[in-house]
């Protein structure tokens, strides 16, 4: 009896092991499900991308699309952790313009050069292909061409008696002082200066507008030279003078939008999405009051011939190298980036197809929805001045060092010169 009891216990135990070990997920029969991850910030809203996915599924019954949305600041790390799994957690993901070098080196991105058709290659803006092409190979499908825009509140400027938006940052300071003095806004300017990539984007806009640069011709850090230090000192000064909202130091682009749309600031630098949201009555208290102006530059930069300055914040979709469903995923990405889909949703995101901006097509694009007549000219005017951040595989760590330096200066922990020098030293050691 006792041995029978023991034998049955042992058998149960063995069954347990076999059951656990043998329970590998089996590939499902029927439609293939692809997992795509993108940011919930700039570009199309999740509800819109979901609709695109449903439309795609209707046309392709054998493919199911499972979308996942995360905040922009989390996308990079989610891709890294997702790729540690086999099969990868995502079949495709949104790739910011600053990541291809790192991800190609890590072997995450699928080479899609042979899948890109001549129509796509010729049809989309060359700048959009530059973001995903390295050494002649293409690693993604262009998606969003975005730059930082200078937006201001027309009504506030009118109330302050200011006739036109500023063309230099020095003029901006003067106008902000008037607005603050008249009590129209406590802190007329809001920026995304929190310790994330957003602060490097804002810094890039200002740095290049001062005639500065991230690296010199030899690839050595140049952001800690006079021009860089001046730029950072100017940033700190606007906080000290009470013109830049001190909460900028902990704000990302979503917080900038929340502040601007609540009517708390007169000037806000942000990606395109802020404009259409400003006219959405469910989110905005300043419907109809936001306007674009060319991004100002510093007077020193203008004297040196700098006509405009912004930062390239484009993103594309890449297929993950280890996905088992490359064909299906490419099919979805082709649909996502197709001209019809892009025109339909152009209120949030302008198309990457050049032909849309010429001749009759331009008229059609501007008529596609109410905000296009404003956003299209703004895009055409600002995008040519989009500056790039360094395309190096260690960009994430380099950017973190620069973010820390800028924050150290803005919070008064270190002087701008010391802070930038420290970051430059890190860049030099990373380059080794």
């Amino acid at each position: 009896m006792r041995s029978l009891y023991k034998i049955s216990l042992i058998t149960l135990a063995l069954l347990f092991i076999v059951g656990t070990v043998g329970c590998a997920p089996k590939p499902a029969a029927g439609p293939v499900t692809i997992h795509v991850m993108t940011m919930d910030q700039a570009g199309l809203k999740p509800a819109e991308i979901d609709q695109i996915a449903r439309d795609f599924e209707a046309q392709n019954p054998d493919i199911k699309v499972s979308m996942e949305y995360v905040g922009y600041d989390n996308v990079h790390d989610k891709i890294v952790t997702g790729m540690a799994a086999t099969p990868p957690a995502y079949d495709a993901a949104m790739i910011d313009v600053i990541w291809p070098d790192e991800f190609i080196k890590a072997g995450y991105l699928l080479d899609v050069t042979s899948r890109v058709t001549p129509e796509m290659k010729a049809g989309m803006f060359p700048a959009s292909w530059n973001g995903v092409t390295r050494n002649g190979k293409i690693y993604g499908m262009p998606w969003l061409m975005d730059v930082k825009y200078f937006m201001y509140n027309k009504d506030m400027l009118q109330k302050a008696g200011i006739a036109a938006p500023p063309t230099t940052w020095e003029e901006l300071v003067d106008q902000a002082k008037i607005i603050k003095q008249k009590g129209i806004a406590d802190f007329p300017i809001i920026w995304s200066w929190n310790q994330k990539e957003g602060v490097v984007c804002d810094f890039a806009v200002l740095l290049f507008g001062n005639g500065g640069a991230f690296v010199d011709a030899n690839g050595k850090p140049a952001f800690n030279n006079d021009k860089g230090v001046q730029t950072l000192t100017w940033m700190k000064q606007t906080i000290d003078d009470g013109l830049t909202n001190p909460s900028s130091v902990s704000s990302d682009e979503n917080a900038v939008e929340a502040n601007f749309l609540a009517g708390k600031s007169a000037f806000a630098v942000n990606w395109l999405f802020q404009y259409s949201d400003s006219n959405d009555a469910t989110k905005s208290q300043i419907v109809g009051q936001a306007a674009f102006a060319p991004m100002p530059v510093f007077k020193a930069g203008a004297d040196a011939g700098i006509k405009g300055s912004s930062v390239d914040g484009s993103s594309s979709f890449a297929i993950m190298a280890t996905t088992p469903y490359a064909d299906q995923t490419w099919k979805f990405l082709t649909y996502l980036a197709s001209n019809e889909v892009q025109i339909k949703y152009s209120a949030e995101m302008l198309p990457v197809w050049q032909a849309d901006f010429q001749g009759d097509a331009l008229t059609k694009l501007e008529a596609a929805n109410p905000t296009n007549p404003v956003t299209v000219p703004a895009f055409l005017a600002q995008f040519p001045y989009a500056n790039e951040r360094p395309t190096v595989p260690y960009y994430n760590e380099a950017s973190a060092a620069l973010q820390l330096a800028i924050q150290n200066a803005l919070t008064g922990v270190k002087s701008p010169k010391d802070a930038l020098d420290e970051a430059a030293a890190t860049w030099v050691s990373l380059a080794k």
């Binding site: 347990f16 902990s250 919070t411």
Partner: protein, 306 residues
């Protein structure tokens, strides 16, 4: 049946040994799980810490010996981060213990509504850390925060203060959020222990003329030692490894002033793609937490009292 017919074949094993063998056979499945899920990653991380291991597919890993550890110990950011983490741990656990003990005493004294108090304590503890962090981030918000609103209405401030941008305040604000979340755990553990204490010792001391403070300090507190030890070990190890609440409220900022050691490990492993460094950091954290646990047990554990 009294006689097992198989006992002829097993005469070389005692009954105790037979039981032991069965026990081992039954334990093997769960041992598999423990080794596979817990021990193997720990060992594997330990080996990884001796390599330069960039994240990615099919990346080359070069053996660098103790380089990762040495570079870490030479890095100023590492030591500042350890200092910050220790500050967080000491202040957070210290306050949790003090306030938790006070609340436990309060419940134990059975005032009117004590059941409601005990039940309502569960709520902060039950709220997921992510939700807790998001809530506190909104409370501290410079433009829309409840803290600013409250202080403004009380007349304590004239303008809204951007709390989370102040380098010296930020860590303390995260500590407040953490205390709100985990103090109930300490309070409930201590209250449960208080409930088991014998009443007569207290009463005898009162009869002998001891006042409330003396009774608390000399009688209750020593008897609570095992419970305090449990709460301390659990909370200290957790506080030293804090990550999620910092990630949500401040993301390590401003200027890394709320960067804790686990966050630094996370940044190295995933954001900077240096898994070797991340593994070395993980091991250092484990070493420190084990030492902490040993120290506690040495100081506080008295076998004769348990």
């Amino acid at each position: 049946m009294a006689i097992n017919s198989n006992s002829h074949h097993r005469h070389h094993l005692t009954l105790r040994q037979q039981d032991a063998r069965t026990a081992w056979l039954l334990l093997i499945p769960s041992l598999f799980v423990i080794v596979g899920v817990t021990l193997w990653p720990v060992i594997s991380t330990f080996f990884l810490s001796f390599f330069n291991a960039p994240t990615g597919i099919n990346q080359v890993r070069t053996f660098v010996g103790l380089s990762n550890y040495i570079d870490m110990l030479k890095d100023q950011t590492f030591w500042e981060t350890i200092g910050r983490t220790l500050y967080f741990t000491v202040v957070s656990v210290g306050l949790e213990l003090t306030i938790g003990l006070a609340v436990a005493q309060l419940i134990h004294s059975r005032p009117w509504g004590w059941q409601f108090l005990r039940i309502s304590l569960i709520i902060p503890w039950a709220v997921p850390t992510i939700v807790n962090g998001a809530m506190w981030r909104w409370i501290y918000s410079a433009d829309f925060g409840a803290l600013n609103g409250l202080l403004m209405q009380l007349g304590l401030i004239k303008h809204y203060v951007p709390w989370l941008t102040l380098p010296e305040m930020a860590m303390n604000l995260v500590i407040v959020a953490d205390i709100w979340h985990t103090m109930p755990f300490v309070a409930l553990v201590l209250q449960a222990a208080l409930a088991t204490l014998p009443e007569d010792l207290d009463e005898a001391a009162a009869v002998d003329g001891a006042n409330a403070w003396q009774r608390f300090w000399k009688i209750r507190l020593p008897l609570l030692r095992p419970a305090i030890l449990v709460a301390l070990i659990v909370r200290t190890v957790d506080a030293f490894r804090v990550f999620d609440i910092v990630y949500i409220i401040t993301s390590g900022g401003p200027a890394y002033k709320t960067l804790t050691i686990t966050y630094l490990t996370y940044l190295n492993s995933f954001s900077f793609g240096k898994q070797g460094t991340g593994a070395a950091l993980s091991f250092l954290i484990s070493a420190v937490t084990i030492i902490m646990a040993f120290v506690y047990i040495r100081i506080l554990y008295r076998p004769e009292e348990s």
